[in-house]
Protein backbone atom coordinates (compact mmCIF):
# COMPACT_ATOMS: atom_id res chain seq x y z
CA UNK A 1 0.00 0.00 0.00
CA UNK A 2 3.07 2.22 -0.06
CA UNK A 3 2.29 5.29 -2.17
CA UNK A 4 -1.41 4.44 -2.56
CA UNK A 5 -2.74 7.22 -0.29
CA UNK A 6 -0.55 9.72 -2.12
CA UNK A 7 -1.78 8.52 -5.52
CA UNK A 8 -5.43 8.62 -4.44
CA UNK A 9 -5.10 12.06 -2.89
CA UNK A 10 -3.36 13.54 -5.94
CA UNK A 11 -5.76 11.94 -8.39
CA UNK A 12 -8.88 13.14 -6.59
CA UNK A 13 -7.53 16.61 -5.92
CA UNK A 14 -6.45 16.99 -9.56
CA UNK A 15 -10.17 16.98 -10.45
CA UNK A 16 -11.37 19.45 -7.82
CA UNK A 17 -10.15 21.17 -4.68
CA UNK A 18 -11.34 19.57 -1.44
CA UNK A 19 -10.84 19.74 2.30
CA UNK A 20 -9.74 16.76 4.38
CA UNK A 21 -13.11 15.42 5.47
CA UNK A 22 -14.54 15.71 1.98
CA UNK A 23 -11.49 13.96 0.56
CA UNK A 24 -11.79 10.97 2.91
CA UNK A 25 -15.46 10.59 1.92
CA UNK A 26 -14.54 10.82 -1.78
CA UNK A 27 -11.86 8.14 -1.37
CA UNK A 28 -14.42 5.81 0.20
CA UNK A 29 -16.94 6.46 -2.54
CA UNK A 30 -14.47 6.34 -5.42
CA UNK A 31 -12.92 3.06 -4.30
CA UNK A 32 -16.25 1.46 -3.37
CA UNK A 33 -14.93 1.30 0.22
CA UNK A 34 -12.20 -1.07 -1.04
CA UNK A 35 -9.71 1.42 0.33
CA UNK A 36 -10.70 3.08 3.57
CA UNK A 37 -8.00 5.27 4.98
CA UNK A 38 -8.19 6.06 8.67
CA UNK A 39 -9.94 9.39 9.04
CA UNK A 40 -6.85 11.08 10.43
CA UNK A 41 -4.32 9.37 8.18
CA UNK A 42 -5.02 11.58 5.20
CA UNK A 43 -3.73 14.75 6.91
CA UNK A 44 -0.06 13.79 7.23
CA UNK A 45 -0.21 12.81 3.55
CA UNK A 46 -1.76 16.17 2.64
CA UNK A 47 0.74 18.15 4.70
CA UNK A 48 3.66 16.14 3.35
CA UNK A 49 2.55 16.77 -0.23
CA UNK A 50 2.03 20.44 0.52
CA UNK A 51 5.53 20.73 1.94
CA UNK A 52 6.87 19.03 -1.19
CA UNK A 53 5.09 21.65 -3.31
CA UNK A 54 2.68 19.15 -4.84
CA UNK A 55 -0.38 20.69 -3.18
CA UNK A 56 -1.50 24.18 -2.41
CA UNK A 57 -3.63 24.89 0.66
CA UNK A 58 -6.14 27.72 0.92
CA UNK A 59 -8.28 28.62 3.94
CA UNK A 60 -11.95 29.30 3.44
CA UNK A 61 -14.56 30.18 6.04
CA UNK A 62 -17.56 27.90 5.62
CA UNK A 63 -20.49 27.89 8.08
CA UNK A 64 -18.43 29.37 10.88
CA UNK A 65 -15.56 26.95 10.39
CA UNK A 66 -12.28 27.51 8.65
CA UNK A 67 -11.82 24.83 6.03
CA UNK A 68 -8.44 24.20 4.48
CA UNK A 69 -8.96 23.40 0.81
CA UNK A 70 -6.23 21.58 -1.06
CA UNK A 71 -5.56 21.71 -4.79
CA UNK A 72 -2.87 20.18 -6.99
CA UNK A 73 -0.03 22.36 -8.30
CA UNK A 74 1.89 21.89 -11.55
CA UNK A 75 4.53 20.05 -9.56
CA UNK A 76 1.82 17.85 -8.10
CA UNK A 77 0.53 16.99 -11.57
CA UNK A 78 3.99 15.86 -12.58
CA UNK A 79 4.22 13.79 -9.42
CA UNK A 80 0.82 12.25 -10.17
CA UNK A 81 1.95 11.32 -13.69
CA UNK A 82 5.03 9.67 -12.22
CA UNK A 83 3.01 7.73 -9.66
CA UNK A 84 0.48 6.61 -12.26
CA UNK A 85 3.24 5.36 -14.55
CA UNK A 86 4.80 3.54 -11.63
CA UNK A 87 1.52 1.85 -10.73
CA UNK A 88 0.82 0.99 -14.39
CA UNK A 89 4.16 -0.77 -14.56
CA UNK A 90 3.41 -2.71 -11.37
CA UNK A 91 -0.04 -3.66 -12.62
CA UNK A 92 1.35 -4.84 -15.97
CA UNK A 93 4.06 -6.75 -14.14
CA UNK A 94 1.50 -8.54 -11.99
CA UNK A 95 -0.78 -9.20 -14.97
CA UNK A 96 2.06 -10.74 -16.95
CA UNK A 97 2.65 -13.41 -14.31
CA UNK A 98 1.15 -16.75 -15.47
CA UNK A 99 -2.02 -17.53 -13.56
CA UNK A 100 -3.17 -13.96 -13.16
CA UNK A 101 -6.70 -13.17 -14.34
CA UNK A 102 -5.56 -10.74 -17.03
CA UNK A 103 -3.08 -13.28 -18.36
CA UNK A 104 -5.74 -15.97 -18.37
CA UNK A 105 -8.06 -13.70 -20.35
CA UNK A 106 -5.36 -13.11 -22.97
CA UNK A 107 -4.58 -16.78 -23.39
CA UNK A 108 -8.24 -17.81 -23.82
Amino acid sequence: MNGVPELLVLRLLSRQQMYGYELVRKIRLATGEAITLGEGVVYPVLHGLEQAGALKARRKAVKGRTRVYYSVTAKGKKRLDGLENHWDRIQKGVDSVPGSTANARQTV
Binding site: G20, G38, E39, Y43, P44, H47, R67
Partner: protein, 143 residues
Protein backbone atom coordinates in the same frame (compact mmCIF):
# COMPACT_ATOMS: atom_id res chain seq x y z
CA UNK B 1 -12.95 12.18 22.32
CA UNK B 2 -12.96 15.74 23.51
CA UNK B 3 -10.08 18.14 23.93
CA UNK B 4 -7.58 16.01 25.84
CA UNK B 5 -6.40 13.76 22.99
CA UNK B 6 -5.91 16.84 20.83
CA UNK B 7 -3.95 18.55 23.59
CA UNK B 8 -1.82 15.41 23.91
CA UNK B 9 -1.28 15.41 20.17
CA UNK B 10 -0.31 19.08 20.29
CA UNK B 11 2.19 18.41 23.08
CA UNK B 12 3.64 15.40 21.25
CA UNK B 13 4.13 17.36 18.02
CA UNK B 14 5.67 20.35 19.77
CA UNK B 15 7.93 18.09 21.77
CA UNK B 16 8.99 16.40 18.53
CA UNK B 17 10.08 19.73 17.06
CA UNK B 18 7.16 20.48 14.73
CA UNK B 19 6.81 24.23 14.24
CA UNK B 20 4.04 25.90 16.24
CA UNK B 21 2.23 27.23 13.15
CA UNK B 22 2.02 23.70 11.72
CA UNK B 23 0.91 22.25 15.05
CA UNK B 24 -1.90 24.79 15.39
CA UNK B 25 -3.13 24.01 11.90
CA UNK B 26 -2.87 20.23 12.34
CA UNK B 27 -4.88 20.30 15.55
CA UNK B 28 -7.48 22.69 14.12
CA UNK B 29 -7.96 20.53 11.01
CA UNK B 30 -8.28 17.33 13.02
CA UNK B 31 -10.74 18.93 15.45
CA UNK B 32 -12.86 20.16 12.55
CA UNK B 33 -12.72 16.70 11.00
CA UNK B 34 -13.79 15.16 14.29
CA UNK B 35 -16.75 17.56 14.57
CA UNK B 36 -17.83 16.79 10.99
CA UNK B 37 -17.61 13.08 11.71
CA UNK B 38 -19.55 13.42 14.95
CA UNK B 39 -22.28 15.41 13.21
CA UNK B 40 -22.61 12.79 10.49
CA UNK B 41 -22.95 10.01 13.06
CA UNK B 42 -25.48 12.05 15.05
CA UNK B 43 -27.56 12.52 11.91
CA UNK B 44 -27.60 8.73 11.60
CA UNK B 45 -29.53 8.57 14.86
CA UNK B 46 -26.82 7.89 17.41
CA UNK B 47 -26.74 9.55 20.81
CA UNK B 48 -24.15 12.21 21.54
CA UNK B 49 -22.02 9.78 23.55
CA UNK B 50 -22.20 7.07 20.90
CA UNK B 51 -21.36 9.59 18.19
CA UNK B 52 -18.35 10.86 20.12
CA UNK B 53 -17.06 7.35 20.81
CA UNK B 54 -17.54 6.19 17.22
CA UNK B 55 -15.95 9.33 15.81
CA UNK B 56 -12.94 8.78 18.08
CA UNK B 57 -12.62 5.18 16.82
CA UNK B 58 -12.85 6.24 13.21
CA UNK B 59 -10.31 9.01 13.65
CA UNK B 60 -7.73 6.38 14.52
CA UNK B 61 -4.93 6.49 17.06
CA UNK B 62 -3.72 10.08 17.21
CA UNK B 63 -0.34 8.98 18.57
CA UNK B 64 0.22 6.87 15.46
CA UNK B 65 -0.89 9.71 13.24
CA UNK B 66 1.46 12.05 15.10
CA UNK B 67 4.34 9.72 14.24
CA UNK B 68 3.59 10.28 10.55
CA UNK B 69 3.85 14.03 11.00
CA UNK B 70 7.03 13.69 12.97
CA UNK B 71 8.48 11.83 9.99
CA UNK B 72 8.07 14.90 7.74
CA UNK B 73 11.30 16.89 8.25
CA UNK B 74 9.98 20.01 6.51
CA UNK B 75 7.44 20.54 9.29
CA UNK B 76 10.11 20.68 11.95
CA UNK B 77 11.73 23.86 13.16
CA UNK B 78 15.12 24.80 11.75
CA UNK B 79 17.03 23.95 14.90
CA UNK B 80 15.45 20.50 15.10
CA UNK B 81 16.39 19.81 11.50
CA UNK B 82 19.94 21.10 11.89
CA UNK B 83 20.84 20.55 15.56
CA UNK B 84 24.57 21.07 14.93
CA UNK B 85 23.75 24.68 14.14
CA UNK B 86 22.93 25.25 17.80
CA UNK B 87 26.25 23.81 18.86
CA UNK B 88 28.58 25.32 16.28
CA UNK B 89 27.14 28.13 14.23
CA UNK B 90 24.88 29.81 16.75
CA UNK B 91 27.65 30.60 19.27
CA UNK B 92 29.82 31.84 16.41
CA UNK B 93 27.06 34.12 15.20
CA UNK B 94 26.44 35.39 18.72
CA UNK B 95 30.14 36.10 19.31
CA UNK B 96 30.50 37.85 15.97
CA UNK B 97 27.48 39.97 16.85
CA UNK B 98 29.20 41.06 20.04
CA UNK B 99 31.82 42.82 17.89
CA UNK B 100 29.84 43.73 14.84
CA UNK B 101 26.78 45.26 16.51
CA UNK B 102 28.64 48.05 18.38
CA UNK B 103 30.53 48.93 15.20
CA UNK B 104 27.32 49.04 13.17
CA UNK B 105 25.55 51.11 15.80
CA UNK B 106 28.50 53.47 15.99
CA UNK B 107 28.55 53.83 12.21
CA UNK B 108 24.83 54.51 12.09
CA UNK B 109 24.86 57.07 14.92
CA UNK B 110 28.33 58.46 14.28
CA UNK B 111 27.43 62.16 14.50
CA UNK B 112 25.56 61.70 17.78
CA UNK B 113 28.44 59.73 19.30
CA UNK B 114 30.95 62.33 18.04
CA UNK B 115 28.96 65.16 19.63
CA UNK B 116 28.67 63.34 22.94
CA UNK B 117 32.37 62.45 22.88
CA UNK B 118 33.33 66.04 22.11
CA UNK B 119 31.05 67.28 24.92
CA UNK B 120 32.61 64.73 27.26
CA UNK B 121 36.13 65.82 26.31
CA UNK B 122 35.31 69.50 26.70
CA UNK B 123 33.72 68.83 30.09
CA UNK B 124 36.82 66.88 31.17
CA UNK B 125 39.15 69.68 29.97
CA UNK B 126 37.00 72.31 31.71
CA UNK B 127 36.88 70.33 34.99
CA UNK B 128 40.61 69.59 34.78
CA UNK B 129 41.43 73.25 34.17
CA UNK B 130 39.20 74.32 37.04
CA UNK B 131 40.84 71.83 39.40
CA UNK B 132 44.28 72.92 38.24
CA UNK B 133 43.43 76.58 38.85
CA UNK B 134 42.07 75.81 42.29
CA UNK B 135 45.15 73.78 43.09
CA UNK B 136 47.40 76.59 41.82
CA UNK B 137 45.50 79.25 43.79
CA UNK B 138 45.56 77.09 46.93
CA UNK B 139 49.28 76.34 46.56
CA UNK B 140 50.06 80.05 45.89
CA UNK B 141 48.06 81.41 48.81
CA UNK B 142 50.06 82.61 51.85
CA UNK B 143 50.09 80.44 54.98
Amino acid sequence: MRDKPFRDLQAQLLHGGVQLRHVSRIVAELQDHFCDLEEEILQGGATAEQASAQAAREMGDLQEIAAQWLAIPELKSFLYRWPWMTVVLRPLIMVSHAFVVPVLVAAERGSLIARWSLSGCLAAVFTGTLLFLLQWLYAGSPG
